[in-house]
Amino acid sequence: MLGRKGVFVLIATVMFWSSVQCWAEGKGKRDARAVLQEFCMDCHDRSAAEGDFVLPLEASSWNQPDAVKSLELVHTMIEKKIMPPVDMDQPSEADRRVVLDWLDKTLIDNSPLGGTPLRRLSGREYANTVSQIFGLTDYSLPAGFPPDNQQHGFDNQGEALVIAASHLESMADAATQIADQFFPPPRKTVSIKTFDVPAKDLVISYSSACLIDGAMRLASSGTNVNRHATWPTKFEAPVSGRYRIEITASSFDPRNASKPVPALLVEATQMTGDEAKQSSLRIKPGPKQTFEFEIGLDAGATIRMRYANGPFDYEDKAAYTKFLETLLVQEPEIAAAWKKLRSPARGGSGWERLKEVMASKDLDVPPLQPGSDALKQAVKSVSSNAVSSGETLVYKFFEEGPFIAIERLRITGPMAQYQDRDQQRLARKREQFVGELADRFDQAALQRFLAKFLRSTFRRAPTQAEIDRYTKLVQREHQKTGSLDDGLHLAVRTALISPAFLYRSIGPGQLSDHELASRLSYFLTSAPPDETLLKLAESGRLSSSGELEKQTRRLLKNSNTFAEDFTSQWLGLDAVDRLMPDARLIRLFSNDHRQGMRKEVVMTFQHVLDRNQSVTQLIAPDFVFTNEAVGREIYDLPSFKATAKKGKQKTSKAMKQVAVDPEGRVGGLLSMPAIMMATANGVDTQPVLRGVWLLENILGSPPPEPPKAVPALTPDTAGATSPKARLAAHMAEPSCAACHREIDPLGFVLENFDPIGRWRETYPVYTEQDGKSKRADGLPIDATGTLPSGEDLRDVTDLKKYLVAKPTRFAGCLSEKLMTYATGRSLNYRERQIVSGIVVAAGENDLKFADLIVELVDSEVFRTK
């Protein structure tokens, strides 16, 4: 650290030296540092350090990492004209150019290539790695495994992937669980027991069931087990095994005693094994019947029961509507009472209230004709909140039928036979893992086993010293406990917390063949190198350009993890799973919507990649992938309207490719509902967020971090002031304007998309009436905007056109994101210039996506630690 005196001397030196330079160069071209001195140092010398920023002008420091970072920031600020602030003296264009040229040269001369820190496996990579090494195909991280920090939107950045004692502890616990799968601790023998379950010991979750006359009645059907199933509250299988089930039940149907025969579906709550774990019982109306059968249950599982063909399912919108149309024609008093109460309370109390009103003599009950508007109205008012009305109406069926009544259960087990089979299965698993060690145990066999195991764990051949260490560990434990399995169990636990397993990106400078194999493999498959890559690395052939290209293309072809993992992080799509849109926007936002939205992004990306099409196809394709829920309710595509008219009952979950106009507003990243949703908050849109998102993820020109002191402005769209007027406040404040000049006009271009990605022409205005909210059209959307480079845009289609016309802009941004994700570091100035060079060259070749990735992988940036 410099003392106060030192700082003074330094500044004085710099000032003196700068003026000498200035003088030496005469009146012609000015020296860059003289310009910086004149316009910047009043605020950014060491003594003022405005905004905590000191501009490093001393040549001695330019190769220091901190100074390089500072100069990069200076470059951004001057290029974007954020600095000097508008209310200060401004340098001429020529002066700016001089400074930028100088910064360009200084940065390229002083930025080293590479520099990814030692990189710990992220949780996602850890799970995939374990799954591959041990062949545990459905392995997932144990609950409570610490989540990773994100940086630049990615979960795999070396700097952010810290390790603390609690990480290591979780990893040690996870490792023990993995080792237990191959070398399980001795199991206690469990004697066969009988569990009697009276009806009152069955679960009532939401309004799924009702205890009447000592039996548990079920009346609704549907797949959501929390709303339609019941299960024992006090029984869980103590160990995995087969259990004998006895169920005593009856059914009742007031209308038709023969069909359909009520079916009680009985199933295991955890369906992990390979055995059939369910049974469907036909419960004929009439007296109690007892059924006996066996079922496989994993430890901790229980059985749950559902009425598979019950009278109604309020979670299937089409089916519920149809059901209500019949019900309300037959029993118009329900509709009348519903209308009178407006909306009865949810659940049994609501049903009691309805019954009271229906019983009163002065209730006016107009008949409802099939197909009439009155019926439609009545159905609509009951079904508008399907879950709430369903939970109320189900009580009618609990009382009147059809219902299934479960009287009691008896569960006996575990049956011995299954236990034996389970033991055999575990023994086979162990045998496969230990290989020849199963039959013969000697030092050489143990060494061979460990060499093989450590090679897959460390992603390289282990050194002899490593093999010896682990051999000794196993032998010592074997001697201590008398069990070889204890030694092998310990070796697995040890290797999985070794830094050789947990870290990659090892060794300075150019990556070794092994490190290259890991980088390539985790980049494109999120998993460790496979046998082919390991062999190539061992023979030193992987690093040749030809082989690297071949392997890149091979991995791209075999994996869809890349499209899924990369797009999810690049575009921040996790938000789609987290957000629950405001019910005023969409009444029933279902899993189909979420799935359809997310799959669209992945499938589009994969489609362009598989066919090696131009990356501009991601912006303006002539197709969209979508499912029925999104196609009809979000995109409002004509082809889905047709299917709706045919009166199909179930919405199809399948994704379909639908042709669209590439110059229209539908199609491509800039109109995808997943992205529109992820860049809003589920309630309203924030042009600032979307503007930043565009700059950061599409245009590759991220604004610098916002100053800490300023609170975010959230536009209030309900009042008279338009969001644009609101955001104009940003422009009035010079310190805001510097950045928001770029951000806001871009953000507005996406304003036509509401928070779930539907097209809109006006802002909604909501009013509350009788406790229900009504939507009306408010101010019209003004989606005009301006690009940082000055082009005016009318709406999103203009932005698409611009990006297609200037394809290297988007391709450059995408390439930087790819490289950040691949290398686990943010690229420095020089590396960005290299990537930009690759993109320009690829522009000659139509920016074909797969080819571009091959070139990026073959670059020094990718090949350097």
Partner: protein
């Protein structure tokens, strides 16, 4: 320095249950010199040494909870009635919150303050009071573990997992002989694993450049800390023979319908954990799904979650308050237990234990996280009042001020929370 615990077992009964356990240390050894002088009911700053935070997912129906009057002379309310016997030992807070943004994930603000992911109150406290016990802190949950809400975050922003099976908590606290043998084996053999990977790391250190030395030292540090944690647990396993006679039901009450039963047991287990000094910091999350409860033999006519979206319907509110009354009964019984159970000095545990019951949900019917109903008991604080704040007043008192006072009472050096540092005057 260890007190002679092995031979000093005694038997005590609690609610018909008996347990044998070692004597408590009278004060955390690390702090014994400075703040080990608990002196009964007088408010004596910095004397509390335990913290329990309970969080209800759906909050409490405020109209049935808040007294109309402030100060000492308030008239009790429906929800406070079960706690009436402890009136002098708790403070009711109305209008306190964190001024945090509203949103779907913002229940977590309860113990985090303004920003979800900031270190939670209990974890700050654990840095001071949790260092000498077997477990720094415990995270429990009654009902299904939620997929969205998290109650506890570490300094690193890592949400800690919760346990919702009483049998698992019980085994963790009072391992049976079989389990203990296995844990002991894993801990002991685990030490040789740590020794070996240290060699692996040294080998790696020779291969990496200067820049990565720093990154690798993170690993070495973690290794050392993990080793300490493991020895701590091993020591406790070896020299404490805790035999608790608390009888758990034969099944784990994890079925949604049995949540209230689970809640009761979790409270009991927390009391036992404090009494045996297994930990001094614990949190309990009370889930809020669609469970249909049976209370006093009567089945409620709608699920808990549906009740919370009452839309001001009188029937739903009546049933909602019945469920919430059960929470208050559990709390009252817990406070009673902490009065009966004593530390090694014969002082009631409650005198040195701060118990907070609160929520991140002010109004579940509207998903609002403003104005969070909160109650704080015990810990040697001056109780007996209803304190009100104005949630609309930007500069008014905040929940963070309550937390600041709690931290002070626990002897924590941290003197601010979520940008507030005023504390509660009525307590000082």
């Amino acid at each position: 320095m260890k007190p002679d615990r092995k031979n000093r077992r005694f038997l005590l009964k609690s609610g018909g249950l008996t347990l044998t356990l070692p004597a408590l240390q009278s004060a955390p050894s690390a702090m014994a010199g400075e703040v080990g002088k608990a002196t009964g009911h007088e408010s004596s700053e910095g004397t509390a040494k335990r913290l329990i935070c309970v969080g209800s997912n759906l909050g409490l129906y405020r109209q049935a909870f808040y007294p109309k009057q402030t100060g000492h002379q308030y008239e009790t309310t429906t929800l406070l009635k079960p706690l009436e016997q402890h009136r002098k030992d708790f403070t009711v807070f109305s209008g306190f919150d964190h001024r945090a943004a509203n949103g779907h994930r913002n229940w977590d603000n309860y113990l985090c303050g303004q920003r979800v992911g900031d270190v939670t109150l209990d974890q700050i406290a654990a840095e001071t009071i949790g260092t000498s016990t077997r477990f720094e802190s415990l995270q429990l949950c009654a009902g299904g573990i939620p997929s969205i809400q998290r109650m506890v975050y570490t300094r690193g922003g890592v949400p800690l997992p919760m346990i919702n099976r009483p049998s698992v908590v019980y085994r963790k606290l009072f391992a049976t002989a079989d389990d203990r043998e296995r844990s002991e084996y894993l801990l002991k053999s685990g030490r040789s694993a740590l020794d070996l990977v240290q060699e692996d790391a040294k080998q790696l250190a020779r291969a990496v450049g200067k820049d990565d030395k720093q990154k690798l030292s993170e690993y070495f540090t973690s290794l050392r800390e993990l080793e300490q944690r493991m020895s701590r647990q091993l020591n406790h396993l070896a020299d404490e023979t805790v035999e608790v006679d608390y009888e758990l039901p034969a099944y784990d009450p994890v079925a949604p319908t049995l949540m209230l039963e689970c809640e009761q047991i979790m409270f009991d287990l927390m009391a036992l954990a404090l009494q045996t000094d297994a930990t001094r910091v614990a949190t309990l999350f009370i889930a809020g799904l669609g469970q249909v409860f049976t209370i006093d033999g009567q089945t409620v006519r709608a699920g808990y979650h549906a009740l919370s979206h009452h839309g001001n319907d009188a029937d739903l509110i009546r049933d909602l308050v019945r469920v919430e009354t059960e929470h208050m009964r559990c709390l009252a019984r817990f406070i009673s237990q902490l009065k009966e159970k004593t530390d090694a000095d014969g002082q009631p545990l409650l005198d040195t234990t701060v118990v907070m019951f609160g929520t991140g949900m002010g109004d579940a019917s509207r998903h609002s996280n403003r104005d969070l109903p909160t109650i704080v008991a015990g810990g040697g604080l001056k109780h007996g009042q209803h304190l009100a704040a104005d949630p609309k007043d930007a500069r008014g008192q905040q929940l963070g001020d309550v937390f600041v006072s709690i931290l002070k009472q626990l002897g924590s050096p941290v003197d601010s929370f979520s940008e507030t540092k005023r504390g509660i005057d009525a307590w000082s």
